[in-house]
Amino acid sequence: MVRIKPSTIWQASKLNRFLPFLLPECRSIHAARQELRWIQDESNDDYQVWKRCKLRYRHYPLQYILGSQPFESLNIKCKPGVLIPRWETEEWATDLAHRLPKNRQIHVLDLCTGTGCIPLLIKHIRPDAVVKAVDCSPLATGLAYWNSKSLGISIQVIQGDILEHNSTVKPQKVDLITCNPPYISQSTFVKETSRSVKLFEPKLALIGCFEFYADLIDHQISRAEAFVYEVGELSQCEYVCRRIVEDPILSKVWRVGFRLDANSKPRVVYGYRRVAITLDWPRIFEEFGELKN
């Protein structure tokens, strides 16, 4: 990473005495000023602004400082110990929610829900959906429940580890499974992950490789009509695709596709049954991404 020039720090300090604290995370004066404005808007006095800027200097995430992150039209509350919703998730979740049919009782199950941003958004855009959210962390389920209460959107929050196949998460039939699993592998976590994420966001929600995608093929796929999983890299998309293509039964029943995000990176792997019983999945997922099988 390029170091910040002393002249930039000097310039920033002349503009505002708190501004240099924000430079290590924002990198440019323009971004730092904007962030300072957001902090000032939500602080009571200069002392609080100063304290928050100092936290930011140590790469503490802004969303934990301010306690919230906008997610489409919702303001999702964030707390340390739960992953902050990302814009990539916002992007595909919004698109997906608008594609779901109106005035239909669709059963949606969201795994690894964290703050509950995806199920809350789906329920918000399609109020007739029946939405369940599962997470293994009690912090996350607590926050998801609190979010649903404060936003006035009713979703069912269940605490349970989906990788442990016990009775807490009953294998019910659902129409759609969405999931934003931990997908950063151990090696890229060390090499590529930004400092703020590495230091302050829960590793439980970040580090994973193929576990959740294996679990999808082995257990979740049988009870679902369609699935949408967020991925970190192409290999995870390919893994899901390969597992389905190689299986003689699954390859006949399922279609799989990849979706890129606004930065043209593979971000979502999705699939649906060729012969849909309840919903017209091919039409719903039309142009959602690129079909591979």
């Binding site: 971004a31 904007q34 962030e35 957001w38 995430p61 802004l62 969303q63 992150q69 906008p70 489409e72 039209s73 303001n75 992953l83 902050i84 990302r86 814009w87 990539e88 916002e90 992007e91 931990p182 997908y183 950063i184 890229t188 976590f189 590529e192 992950t193 930004s194 703020s196 994420v197 966001e201 929600a205 970040l206 967020e230 970190g232 995000d261 606004a262 930065n263 990176k265 971000r267």
Partner: protein
């Protein structure tokens, strides 16, 4: 100028203003140009998130930039005022609607802008007038005070003389 004539002139001036000035009210300005659904079709929307580098869970971006391009005119607007992408999209559309209205007006300021300009000028004028009136009033008072003092002094002098 005596106090009476001045007062008269003030009244006169006020009357002249009341009958001549075409006053603009702040709450009755021409409305802001609205963004219509028809405009949506000519748009090219881009979300800029810093381009290269890792994404997804690996990085935690706080800002989101929306860039709108209006194809027929080639106008480009950007917005990254708020943390919310949803909000930024709305703000960018409002900005663009204003730009389009100006473009449709042939680069001239639109009715609302001229009205706002007029309103500001009017405010400035009225502030100036008020300040002038105030100063005149104080001047007059001061003069009256001096006159009174002089008279008193004269009185005292007269008393001493007699």
């Amino acid at each position: 100028m005596s106090f009476k004539t001045l007062q008269l002139s003030q009244v006169l001036r006020r009357e002249i203003h009341a009958c001549c000035a075409n006053l603009i009210k702040k709450n009755k300005l021409p409305s802001r140009p609205k963004f219509t659904l028809a405009m949506e079709a000519d748009l090219e929307e881009k979300f800029l998130h810093g381009g290269r580098g890792p994404g997804g869970q690996k990085i935690n971006k706080c800002n989101s930039k929306v860039q709108l391009k209006h194809m027929p005119s080639g106008i480009v607007v950007e917005c990254q005022e708020t943390r919310s992408r949803h909000q930024n999209r709305k703000l960018a559309r409002d900005k663009l609607a204003l730009q389009i209205a100006r473009w449709q007006n042939g680069g001239e300021p639109i009715a609302r802008e001229t009205a706002i300009h007029e309103w500001e000028k009017q405010g400035k004028k009225s502030r100036e007038r008020k300040s002038r009136d105030k100063h005149e009033k104080h001047d007059e008072e001061r003069k009256a005070e001096q006159l009174r003092e002089l008279e008193e002094e004269e009185k005292i002098l007269n008393q001493l003389m007699h």
